[in-house]
Subunit: 356 residues, 2 copies
Amino acid sequence: MFAVIMAGGKGSRFWPRSREKMPKHLLDIQGERTIIRETVDRIRPLVPPERTLIVTGRSHAAELIRQLPEIPAENILIEPVGRNTAPCIGLAALHIRKRFPDAVMLVLPSDHRIGDEITFRKVLAAAGRIAAEGNSLITIGIRPTGPETGYGYIEQGDPFPSGEKEAIHRVRSIREKPPLEQAREFLRRGSFLWNSGMFVWKASTILGAIEKFLPELHAGLLRIREALGAEREEEIVGEVYSAQKAVSIDYGVMEKAENVLVVSRDFDWSDLGSWDALWEVSEKDENGNAVRGSWIGIDAFDSLVHSPGKMVALVGVRDLLVVETDDALLVCRRGRSQDVRKVVEALEKDGRKRYL
Amino acid sequence: MFAVIMAGGKGSRFWPRSREKMPKHLLDIQGERTIIRETVDRIRPLVPPERTLIVTGRSHAAELIRQLPEIPAENILIEPVGRNTAPCIGLAALHIRKRFPDAVMLVLPSDHRIGDEITFRKVLAAAGRIAAEGNSLITIGIRPTGPETGYGYIEQGDPFPSGEKEAIHRVRSIREKPPLEQAREFLRRGSFLWNSGMFVWKASTILGAIEKFLPELHAGLLRIREALGAEREEEIVGEVYSAQKAVSIDYGVMEKAENVLVVSRDFDWSDLGSWDALWEVSEKDENGNAVRGSWIGIDAFDSLVHSPGKMVALVGVRDLLVVETDDALLVCRRGRSQDVRKVVEALEKDGRKRYL
């Protein structure tokens, strides 16, 4: 079994800590370890570093190698440009199939938080066994805890018979991020799961599905396959990528394929997509404040403070996200952290590159 | 005419910018010049540096001399400990009377803001003429613009006949900071003025009043007078101060004396007592934000930001005071900046001296 960690994200919603040169997964936003360090450590009992591949952009490769010295250099796959998840997964599948034609691959985002790692690994192991036995495309679903509009959803169909303890179903449909009313309806119906963006399948199975549903991508991947290990590899990858459309594996393959299963269980998952999400999963004091570092609160409630090394005082405030770096300071109302992107857009528009 | 600038304040309400070593009057909180620099410049057309005395604590003297190189060294009077305004004024009066027995002295706090400096100087000049002609104790009153509970009040009595254009009245009573209901009543009655803490009198007149109403202080001042210029001066000042009770000139003298006048006029005065007061007097953009430095506001209103050199983003917030220094960050609800003192108290209690 191989693991593929997709580390192409920009994470502009974690500004001012996330920057073009330092996306979310390279930051220690949650604790002592960086998020990608946690991701690699988390799957290590299932998949050793020699079989862990990481797909990333050129500008982040050096920092990634620095943070993960145990990952062999040939396991760091460089995408010349980002083209969403389908090309990324196809590229990794090529490399894996070349090494072991029958290998199962776990596909994992680089930047999620998992509370219950033991259950998480049990779910992946069960999915791996099912993937190894047949030609299923397996996705990991999360039981929703609220009418979240920031996630895609997976509709469960009939149970899939297996010897596993996990709840495994055929997938009836895959849904994009819904408006609030629909999210509420999904929650009421009970048969909808959050789409975690994690997948398990044989490399050969997903390459076959890409051939069927994304033939242009498949043709490009064939060109890359011929160049693997050759001097021209980087050049060919560049050509293929620049000619591809950006397409997600959900939209490009999963919504169309027949042999899709979903394994679901609760393992305290969050996509850690924003400062709001971080506040949600952080430990808080009795007044609801999640603070890293020294601080004094006078009538301060339900706030997040990230200001390493500085003495922070909050007086008479609630529901704030306060984040400080060497050169920037964000003060955002809780619930509004999606709009941190607008700050990054404004900085781009003003040409203030040093803050990007 | 001499000027005495009382620079003994600690200004803990301007934390984190104000510190034990750097009280408010030594900071450039409002603009390019420090507050005491503005105070000295403002009276310079009336009183040259050679006749401007500054009373301050030992730990602030070096910085004060650095900021005000034109003030002669012998005009910097050191108080070994703070004992409120009566001993401070008495000490300055001794020095002035020694140089010119009949001199008039203006007594000014070091840390106020004056919008209309020309009018301000006219008021002081008129008060100076009246003080020179007789034995009045003159205080400067400000026409109130609201039921302020943070200021003391002066009740006007009968008009005082003079050749001046200014409104000059006898003082009927001097009131401590009132509760809100009383402040409203003062405003309704129309005969109450804010007590600016500025005074004009002959040095001999105030020393006479101190002799009458604060005999213990007067005895101490006589001891100091004998030691002025002698080797023992510093030692004697230390002994006298440590034996004195802290007492304000308002409570100790002005509330009891008969010959008290008030000159009143509007010259856009603020005691700049807090971050809230600073927001009030600051220039603001069309959304009510007063910001020094680079910033981006997304739905941000009625806030103050002081974060020199840093890119600040406010998202979805209103009514905040955000102040940052090299080692500390304050985020305070507007209207709550009196409670910044509580932050300083908490830091003291926790023994976190580096932030004091």
